[in-house]
């Protein structure tokens, strides 16, 4: 039987705070209060990923959530995902228009290249845009050669600016996956904020060798994929969970005199289905009708 080396019981990062240099420990109750537009106490940040799922994914280094599942050609999953970009996204745009909600569309480079009309409609409706990597099979990870990772980033930013006329300064990685060098490479490419890490409820400074980013909070626990797909809960229960979150955050914001953010990712191919879009409407309307609540965009919560 093999044995473990002595080094297995050495702990080079055993010190106060996290085991990396990106940010120090900072308990939420001691955090300086952030300020939201209109002196709101609860900001609702809605993120809509626009993703491309290739029919022939490599699945490396892992299969992105939502990727093909059955043997090639998996037309079933390809077309259910594509439904989101063709139909579901437009259902969400219509809903946001009725609610007067400004969302943030996290758009992959392949979507901008393939479906520029969709991206133009998102911009024309007044929503914020950030980059979301090239496609769901171009994942960022530590074994990716530096040049290749930089080309994923540059190509994505180029494809988006070619359609919108504006180079994005915000980023969410496909599947929120990163390599150790990803944040620094994003900073070097001119990215100002990103939202891969789920370490906080408020924006935090995120140090990298190439400069500091703002890490925006984005819950993995309340989004449509987690509640409706992974946990397979009925839509009404999702509405209740979003409402409970808003109640709690508003009370905490009042008690601590510190505004809070409710962050929600909604996927067009999940929330944009006919039988789900009204549940999403109820969730969002429930939050927005509360005194002191309003939708926010990255520019509102990223220090200038």
């Amino acid at each position: 039987m093999s044995t473990l080396p002595e080094s297995y019981l050495t702990y080079p990062h055993r010190h106060a705070g996290p085991d990396h240099a990106h940010y120090p420990a900072a308990p939420l109750p001691e955090r300086p209060a952030i300020r939201l537009p209109g002196d709101r106490t609860l900001g609702l940040w809605v993120v809509v990923p626009l993703e491309f799922f290739p029919l022939n994914p490599s699945g490396q280094p892992f299969k992105a959530p939502g990727a093909m599942q059955t043997p090639y050609p998996d037309l079933r999953h390809y077309t259910t995902r594509d439904y989101g970009n063709r139909v579901g996204a437009y259902r969400l745009l219509t809903l946001f228009g009725k609610l007067g909600l400004r969302a943030t569309f996290a758009i992959q480079g392949a979507v901008a290249e393939r479906y520029p009309a969709l991206v133009r409609d998102v911009v024309a409706d007044g929503h914020a845009v950030c980059a979301h990597g090239w496609d769901t099979d171009s994942l960022h990870h530590s074994a990716l050669p530096a040049d290749l990772e930089r080309s994923y980033i540059d190509r994505t930013l180029d494809a988006l600016s070619a359609v919108t006329g504006r180079r994005p300064d915000g980023w969410i990685s496909p599947a929120r996956a990163e390599g150790f060098q990803t944040p620094a490479r994003l900073a070097a490419a001119g990215i100002r904020w990103f939202a891969d890490w789920a370490h906080d409820d408020l924006p935090t400074a995120f140090h990298t060798e190439a400069g500091d980013l703002t890490a925006l909070p984005l819950s993995n626990e309340l989004d449509d994929w987690q509640i409706l797909i992974t946990h397979a809960r009925p839509e009404q229960e999702w509405v209740t969970q979003v409402s409970d979150a808003a109640d709690w955050l508003l009370a905490e914001a009042a008690a601590q005199s510190s505004p809070r953010l409710l962050t929600l990712t909604v996927r067009p191919y999940v929330s944009g289905l006919p039988y789900r879009v009204k549940a999403l409407r109820d969730s969002l309307a429930n939050v927005l009708k509360r005194p002191g609540c309003g939708s926010v965009s990255p520019d509102d919560i990223t220090p200038g």
């Binding site: 029919l55 022939n56 077309t79 439904y83 063709r86 745009l93 009309a117």
Partner: protein, 324 residues
């Protein structure tokens, strides 16, 4: 292998030209009972195991056979009560195994389309000749047993090859239920000059997905179906939509499930002024003659038309998505 099947063009669901169903109806509603046969000891396919356990896997096998002995009859009663003619997704071997069920469908003037020969024989790895044999067997067998010429197809167990849809067009099929990209029909890009469309089959409200994937309760399923319908009805005022309920009697016809399902079916079919309760073939025929050209013209006018046909060739500008 292709990153994009190129079977249809991008077509944004905003400002589409109006579809008006016959009688000024807003939603074309159809129900697809899957009348299937799963074999007790099917041959293996290298790409997919038919059963989870070693053969005979008696629990899931017999659960499906329950549909052919109990479930279909109960489901037919409910559909009769609501005045819904089924569009049957047929394992063609059912013609031989259970002619009594086929007769009951024929007596009700239901439509048949092919769902392969058995739901335990997959398309993966088929040669062109084998895939043609399945299609020719489907056409001939249904014609001989019922007098109907089938016009629709849903690949067995949703298993395809790159050539499946081209072959359907060549054999004068009108519609495919294999693609789930839209709530309206759309022309498919197939070889030759035949016209083939995608028929919305609404996989997400399929009872297999509800009970097998999302693990919902019967009442939650009924609620889902009604909300799904409400949304498509609302949108149907702008341009006609299609709603399909794909069913499997071996799931939906259990005594604890069929009651809530009947409530949903009564609710939907109760909207007589707005809903065209019909079959997939009738939707396809109407769409092909009244709206097919309109859709193509709109896609062209939006600049969304791309060259080529399904899997042939890869659309230009997307080569980087292809890893052959």
């Amino acid at each position: 292998m292709h990153g994009d099947p190129n079977l249809y063009d991008f077509w944004p669901y905003r400002d589409r030209p109006k579809i008006t169903w016959p009688g000024g109806k807003k939603v074309a509603f159809w129900v697809a009972p899957n009348i299937e046969f799963y074999e007790l000891d099917p041959p293996g396919n290298p790409s997919r195991k038919p059963w989870g356990r070693p053969h005979p896997d008696v629990v899931p096998y017999s659960a499906r056979d329950w549909g052919n002995r109990v479930g279909h009859w109960r489901m037919m009663d409910v559909m009769d009560e609501c005045g819904v003619r089924g569009s049957v997704s047929l394992s063609v071997a059912m013609l031989d195994h259970h002619p009594e069920i086929i007769r009951a469908c024929v007596d009700r003037d239901w439509e048949f389309f092919s769902h392969g020969i058995y739901n335990t024989r997959y398309s993966y790895g088929m040669t062109e000749a084998q895939e043609r044999a399945v299609i020719e067997d489907s056409i001939r067998s249904v014609q001989d047993a019922t007098g109907q010429r089938i016009r629709g197809y849903l690949a067995p167990a949703l298993t395809h090859t790159e050539r499946t849809l081209d072959l359907l067009a060549e054999y004068d099929f009108w519609y495919s239920c294999d693609l789930f990209q839209d709530d309206q029909p759309q022309p498919l890009k197939v070889k030759g000059d035949k016209r083939l469309i995608s028929m919305p089959y609404s996989l997400e409200v399929n009872d297999v997905i509800t009970y097998g994937v999302y693990h919902q309760s019967p009442r939650a399923y009924a609620d889902t179906l009604m909300r799904h319908f409400d949304q498509l009805l609302e949108e149907g005022a702008e341009t006609g939509t299609v709603m399909c309920i794909p069913l499997h009697a071996y799931l939906v016809a259990h005594p604890h499930r069929i009651g809530p399902f009947r409530e949903a079916l009564r609710y939907i079919t109760g909207h007589r002024d707005d809903v065209w309760v019909t079959t997939a073939k009738d939707i396809a025929q109407f769409y092909l003659s009244s709206h097919y050209d309109q859709t193509l013209a709109d896609i062209e006018a939006r600049g969304c038309a791309r060259p080529g046909t399904g899997f042939n060739p890869a659309p230009s500008g997307q080569a980087q998505g292809d890893r052959s």
